[in-house]
Symmetry: C2
Subunit: 222 residues, 2 copies
């Protein structure tokens, strides 16, 4: 029974990692679509979102099956709980990459605003946080998870900075306003992608240590 | 055993409804703080958010306990899954009400922008959707849940309309820009509150009918 359960757990983990890889692709493609003003690529990301949604449903279904078949306890139960929390975070992150692409398509209908400074950095940092969050999950690495969580403040500051940059453009010339607002939203989407990475990392700490650090501030590295 | 389980399910349901009532209060107070420019009330909502966060943790803890103690199957398993999905949605909605209040506090440091048209309507509609979503959950009413889901498009349109209204103000006078952006964010927060209500309703349909309508479009009323 336990052996069967272990195999189910491994299968579920593989499925989550496959979903994670798809989500990472969506993020990196959305960044490329933004920087290279590539509408076709943006449309591709939007078109792929359905596959990620279906993956979420499949993971949900198999997690519930596993609960029904087995009676998970202790660390197995924590694993099931972590999967049930991480999967919707990944799906939300993919939706945000899709939102970025929608704004990119709108932006590409007009000439470029200015060479952007803050948003590309913010986007890269958010992407790195998601990759590291998935690494922390694979390796069961609570130290890495906590390090990722600490980066979230930095991303929040970068988002603020990108807002100030964009506000300057709006004040300079009213013709910049609607494009700058779209970019403001894009900044916000990446900030929320970083929030999603943070939430995943909180579940990794829970999985490894059995401690729920969400809503409790970040405890110092053990 | 089943009787004990039923009592645990009822307790969990009560807890979720208490959390729901707290979240509804946060939304209505955030709307009042916005319309009446009430900074003290906005600060109160922000201060109360911690109680809602703690409630989420408590519900999570008790749901996992219930899975470990019992081996839920069929409708009970669906109930457990629904609770595990609805709780974080409620917590996110409360966070969004808190975000509204943060922007309200910033707005109240400056003179009012203009009498607003679109945002108050949008806010009321989002609030109604959350109340109805919780009603649908209490009553196990999938018809009501589907009706709420259909309102989401309407809220999205109202959000678009509020953006256009605010863009006009920005183009009229650059001194309006930073306030109009804050209001644009507030519009977006209420749109996401409505999205949260939609997600809750999808889980109500799943709970009642065993059908996962998320990512599948809304099926017609049976």
């Amino acid at each position: 029974m336990q052996r069967h359960f272990d195999r189910d757990i491994e299968d579920l983990k593989d499925l989550l990692l496959r979903m994670g890889a798809m989500v990472e692709d969506s993020i990196s493609q959305s960044i490329r679509a933004l920087l290279e003003r590539d509408t076709a690529l943006a449309e591709e990301v939007i078109g792929n979102d359905n596959r990620i949604d279906q993956m979420e449903l499949e993971i949900d279904r198999r997690t519930l099956e596993l609960i029904a078949k087995m009676q998970p306890a202790a660390v197995d139960l924590r694993f099931v709980a972590a999967i049930m929390k991480i999967t919707p975070e990944l799906e939300r992150i993919a939706d945000l990459a899709q939102d970025v692409c929608e704004r990119v398509i709108e932006l590409n209908r007009e000439p470029p605003l200015k060479p952007m400074q803050a948003i590309p950095r913010l986007a890269q940092d958010a992407q790195t946080m998601v990759r590291q969050a998935l690494d922390a999950f694979v390796r069961g690495d609570a130290v890495l998870a906590r390090r990722v969580i600490q980066q979230d403040d930095n991303v929040d500051q970068q988002t603020e900075q990108s807002f100030r940059e964009l506000l300057t453009y709006m004040l300079e010339d009213p013709r910049n306003i609607s494009r700058a607002i779209r970019l403001t939203f894009i900044g916000k989407y990446f900030e929320r992608i970083a929030d999603g990475a943070t939430n995943i990392c909180e579940m990794v700490v829970y999985l490894v240590e059995g401690k729920m650090i969400k809503h409790a501030g970040v405890a110092p590295d053990a």
